[in-house]
């Protein structure tokens, strides 16, 4: 946090923070990776399963749009809609 103003973290930090949050959320869901990837693919996701795995282990950066799709996939899967 910038002590001299009201600006938030740098975009890079935001992405890192978001990734950490997403990774933690994924751990909490206990979703099998393949299940998440498949649903995310159905939503139009573009990264492969290995990259998704790496991202969720906070070991890879991916485009923001893909992050949003992953989050949407997790949300819809946990809502219990069968697919």
């Amino acid at each position: 946090m910038n002590p001299f103003g009201t600006e938030g973290p740098e975009p890079a930090d935001r992405a890192v923070e978001e990734r950490r949050g997403t990774a933690e959320r994924f751990r909490k869901t206990d979703l099998p990776l393949a299940r998440l990837w498949t649903y995310y693919y159905g939503l139009g996701g573009g990264i492969d399963e290995m990259s998704l795995d790496a991202y969720l282990h906070e070991a890879l950066d991916i485009p923001a749009g893909q992050v949003a799709l992953i989050a949407m996939a997790m949300t819809e899967l946990m809502e219990g809609e069968s697919l």
Binding site: W37, Y41, G46, D48, E49
Partner: protein, 262 residues
């Protein structure tokens, strides 16, 4: 070499007399085909054809869409929006030449605005006109590395495709091809197992597949295993799934039968 039985023919990859061990490259191609013609892929391409037809048809201008793919160096009508599209694709594939096959071979979109003005592919054009086709749009698709396909759109009206239509068809085909490439890298080879729901134990399946490859190629166990593992790593498909596909094909399971010559 004796003539192999029809159901095993698919794995006898070489002309007779050639050393068995060089079967590997063609084996990989064969196994790649197995992925490509899985029910899921066909279903996806059918959806594409249906969506394209729906989107581009207007009252008075019904569009029929088919997707043809090259398999074993021959074109095959894999998916279609309706029976008419399938028939038109098969018609062209039967002639072995036509605008769609040319588009596929050249890798570029091809438009025939009016078949009456078309001098190329004369035998096919005549037959197509007899079937009511007036214009054709062919959009090639790069399906997955070695696999090539083409999305064929048929209209009964001359100048049946506007510039916007061409852009739409190209966009549909491009997105679909990209999606297929992504999933083919990842998805399992095997079809959905039905009621039995028994997953085969790795060892047994691989053993059976090795035995089959040994028998078919008259090679050693080591060589057979190399063929399997090479196909597995080249295609990023699990060894067990590659082996399962080999066995399915040999045992002549119904779905697989239709994809191989008897």
């Amino acid at each position: 070499m004796t003539n192999p039985e029809p159901s095993l023919e698919s794995f006898s990859a070489l002309p007779q007399g050639a050393p068995a061990i060089q079967a590997s490259p063609d084996m990989e191609g064969r196994l790649q085909e197995l992925v490509l013609v899985s029910k899921d892929v066909i279903s996806f391409l059918t959806d594409l054809a249906v969506l394209a037809s729906a989107r581009l048809s207007t009252p008075g201008n019904r569009i029929h869409t088919g997707v043809t793919v090259i398999r074993r160096k021959r074109p095959e009508a894999l998916a279609s929006s309706d029976a008419a599209a399938r028939a038109l694709d098969e018609l062209q594939n039967g002639f072995g030449d036509g605008p769609c096959l040319t588009a596929l071979r050249n890798g570029t979109t091809l438009l025939v605005p009016d078949l009456t003005d078309e001098r190329r592919w004369a035998p096919y054009v005549k037959a197509a006109q007899e079937n009511g086709v007036s214009s054709i749009l062919a959009v090639p698709m790069d399906l997955s590395g070695e696999a090539e396909g083409v999305m064929n759109l048929y209209s009964g009206c001359s100048s049946g495709f506007t510039a916007e239509d061409i852009s739409t068809a190209e966009a549909f085909a491009s997105q679909a091809a990209s999606s297929l490439r992504l999933v083919l890298r990842i998805a399992q080879l095997s079809e959905a197992r039905n009621d039995l729901a028994i997953a085969m134990q790795s060892r047994t399946v691989i053993d059976m597949a090795i035995g089959a490859i040994m028998a078919e190629n008259r090679c050693t166990r080591d060589a057979a295993f190399k063929i399997l593992t090479k196909a597995s790593s080249a295609r990023n498909i699990k060894l067990r799934e590659v082996a399962a596909a080999v066995i399915s094909s040999i045992s002549g399971e119904k779905q697989i039968d239709t994809y191989f010559d008897e």
